[in-house]
């Protein structure tokens, strides 16, 4: 009995952490700028490649992860300066432009590094509960996901950057008149979001085959999580990560991973009909009511 509860809990943690880590960058960028970076999957892929290349060159894993994060963050900053910053206020055009970038990245890596490069094996080994073995690394990832949520919370609620971000999210014109450099906020946010994508790639690289199209595995899940979450990055991520994590793990266990993915899409489609503002819209309404 305990074994199957643990099994389910483990599956849930796995889904939950995957969704949170994959979506964090996307959600922050969307919450701040209303832009969806369609190259998000490819940024994740870049992080995975950088991590793998460094790790294979005997760089200690933690450094490899950190460097992957930083490099993709810098790359995101460049992309913002060259492309995205010209498209502030043109949300739909930025969707098309970032898709062009995703194409370039995918094909570029394919041309430069071939269809795949040798990856690492999942570190840290396994542990057993009852008759099933589980990966320790995945538990670590779950801890990282929770730490990530805590970090985002701290960043938005307890730092000046966070305060300025929330002001800009609420109303960029008012924020500007208060002296906040909204252009710089957007660039920093895009950089942060890209870095988080790089982090995701670096963290999941040991568990996947390293190919130019590996970003697509994250694409569907992170888009759905953002849609269901809504505009507030923190509330949205947490709420949708949890709910979707439950749904996806349940469906995967019952019917297989593919149905887990279909389930997410179906949930997204129903949610946009019923709760077009996503979970954060619904929760924010109730939060403010409670304060009265």
């Amino acid at each position: 009995m305990f074994n199957s509860i643990f099994n389910y809990f483990y599956q849930f943690l796995d889904s939950f952490s995957f969704l949170i880590i994959a979506v964090s960058g996307l959600a922050i960028i969307f919450g701040m700028m209303g832009i969806i970076n369609l190259a998000h999957g490819e940024f994740i892929m870049l992080g995975a490649y950088i991590f793998t290349i460094l790790a294979k060159a005997s760089v200690p894993l933690v450094f490899a992860i950190a460097l992957g994060t930083v490099f993709v963050g810098i790359f995101g900053y460049i992309v913002d300066k060259l492309v995205v910053s010209r498209l502030y206020g043109r949300a739909l055009d930025s969707v098309v432009a970032t898709w062009g970038i995703s194409l370039l990245l995918r094909q570029g890596i394919l041309i430069l590094l071939g269809p795949s490069i040798p990856g690492l094996t999942t570190p840290m080994g396994t542990f057993a509960v009852g008759s099933s073995t589980y990966s320790i690394y995945r538990i670590v990832l779950a801890a990282v996901a929770i730490a990530l949520l805590a970090g985002v919370y701290w960043l938005f609620m307890h730092t000046t950057f966070g305060l300025h971000s929330r002001a800009t999210m609420q109303s960029s014109t008012i924020a500007q008149s208060l002296g906040i450099n909204t252009g710089r906020m957007y660039s920093m946010t895009f950089m942060l979001g890209s870095a988080l994508a790089g982090l995701c790639g670096a963290l999941y690289a040991p568990t996947m085959t390293i190919t130019p199209t590996m970003g697509q595995a994250f694409q569907n899940d992170s888009f759905v999580t953002v849609i269901v979450g809504g505009a507030n990055p923190l509330i949205g991520m947490t709420a949708s990560g949890t709910v979707l994590g439950v749904i996806q793990s349940a469906l995967s266990m019952l019917f297989g991973t593919f149905f887990g993915k279909i389930g997410l899409l179906v949930v997204a489609i129903i949610v946009i009909r019923v709760l077009p503002q996503g979970f954060s819209g619904m929760i924010e309404k109730h939060m403010v009511k409670g304060k009265r």
Partner: protein, 238 residues
Amino acid sequence: MSKKILELLNVSKNFGGLKAVDDVSLSIEEGSLHCLIGPNGAGKTTIFKLIMGIYPPSEGKILFDGQDISRMPTYRRVREGISIKMQIPGVYLDLSLYDNIRIAVQKYVSYHMIPSEINRLISLVGIEDIGNPLVCNMPHGQQQWLEIAMSLASQPKLLLLDEPAAGMGPEETEFTSKIVKRINEQGTTIIFIDHDMDFVSKIARRTTVLHYGKIFAEGTFDEIHNNEDVINIYLGKV
């Protein structure tokens, strides 16, 4: 007694913790030219949006011509006979003047009548001299007149005008007041919001004053104008 074309019965609207409209009951007689005034944030535009159905009331009912329209979607309310000119010009900036009116008009007349109907609306408002520029190149005042023309395309029984004279100089304001009176004389009930007391005094027959989402005073314009309490709320003393 004149028929009531619009009735708000104990209507409230909450946004989270903010009560933008607080237990407002209002009735508008058919054919009247009614003004809604009050300091900024009093809830006037919110009431317009409730009447148009942009969001539903949190409490209370809205009756139009005897029918409960509280949950009716916006496009149906327009077809029932309510029309609006928005506070921020709701015109299609990247299109020409003719195309703007065409879009407003084409649902309400047959295909062959569209050109003549466009011309009719242009003369009704009196903007023949503008020609057919791109709307984004038109000055603010002309955009507002255009929008009034467009809002008349559905031959509404009730027209809501949100700050029709906003940002206009004295000549333009005079022109606008003539337009509004002309439309009202042809039978359309008009409710309008404005801050320009000169403009209001020229045309309003009845006035309702809103303050913090509640009805503060009602009466003819002269009664309101001389009411000390009303003056005080504008001066922020209440």
